[in-house]
């Protein structure tokens, strides 16, 4: 009897994990609050990666992540499903992170440099280059040196798998400007790779 129950439990858990975000939200809104844990499990790691890179501090990242999930839960009834849940949720994460940055009195204007501005990525290039063994390691270390907006677009695009259109909704920027931010980030990284002839690693 116990085995049957256990099998049923495992099967129902697997079935729940295959549910779409909207199906889980419907279930939570019907009163099955426990199902919200499926959404948390689905997004916590990627959102944490984003926050840690934005806030450069593990404790702040954890606090903002917790705050974001609680905010999302409390306004889940207002989620109309016009956009994907991921876009809506990342918007909450993004705004909460900006609030934290502002409250910590960092120079937000400076960090949130406009997409029109150029940026210098190679100021501590020699140090990074000296401590990395290959192109991939080098690029990944440089991502953390990108200006905040550029890093955000890059992470949302590559780690969270959001489209440029979704990223523009999350960040409140136009699609063209979002594309410019991604291209500039890649071009800046590309130029440094070219400087060290890392492009040959592709061959």
């Amino acid at each position: 009897m116990r085995t049957v129950t256990l099998v049923w439990y495992v099967r129902s858990k697997i079935a729940m994990k295959n549910l779409s975000d909207i199906e889980i939200i419907d279930s939570v809104n019907r009163g099955n609050h426990q199902d919200y844990s499926l959404l948390i499990d689905r997004y916590k790691d990627k959102a944490f990666s984003l926050l840690k890179r934005m806030l450069k501090n593990e404790m702040d990242a954890e606090e903002v992540l917790q705050d974001s999930f609680l905010k999302a839960f409390s306004s889940l009834k207002d989620f109309r499903g016009d956009a994907k849940f991921s876009t809506w949720f990342y918007k909450i994460v993004f705004n909460s992170a900006l609030t934290t940055i502002a409250s910590k009195k960092r120079k937000i204007e400076q960090e949130m440099s406009s997409y029109d501005e150029t940026f210098e990525l190679g100021y501590n290039d020699n140090k990074i280059y000296a401590t990395t063994e290959n192109a991939q390691g080098y690029v990944l270390k440089l991502v953390d040196k990108l200006p905040l907006r550029n890093a955000l677009v890059t992470i949302l695009f590559y780690v969270d798998g959001l489209s440029l259109n979704e990223i523009s909704q999350v960040m409140g920027t136009s699609l063209v400007n979002t594309k410019v931010l991604l291209h500039r980030s890649r071009n800046a990284l590309r130029d440094l790779l070219l400087k060290h002839n890392y492009q040959e690693e592709l061959l």
Binding site: D41, D45, S75, T154, H183
Partner: protein, 175 residues
Amino acid sequence: MKKITDETLNDYIDNQLDGASIQELKMDLDNNEEALKKLKALKVVDNSLKNIEVILAPEGFTNRIMSIIAKGSRKAVSKVSYFFVSVIGLFTALILAVMGFAYYTTASSTPSTEKGYSLNKISEYLAQFVSILQNVFKNQNITTIGMILTILLLISGYYLLESHKDFKNKLKNLS
């Protein structure tokens, strides 16, 4: 030699070019070593970024959030019930006290054959109770204090409502 822009190379990496544009780019790249180098470097960047490490959220994070939610739900439910129970309880107690008092005095002062008369007596007592209240509020000081308290209550109610609306708007803006 046709100039190959950074945008074209980035669009190629993102699969944003159509078949004809890809063919054209490939032909142009044959005669443009510098652009070819750039494309190779962009591919390295793209491949590297696809392997960005996902940083795992702290252990037990989901359980922590779920326990906060569970606590919050319990609090919300108990808050609502306490509020309604106290308001309804207060009114019920008041009505029962007035009716009980009226019934007790009527029953003790009237013979059992005159039960129909009791109802009239109850309404008389209720009228008396209302007139006592009226007399109390005839006093100018009490009326003034009552007015001030009412105004304060209305103002605080207004600010409470506004802050609630503001909070709801903030939540809506987030969505």
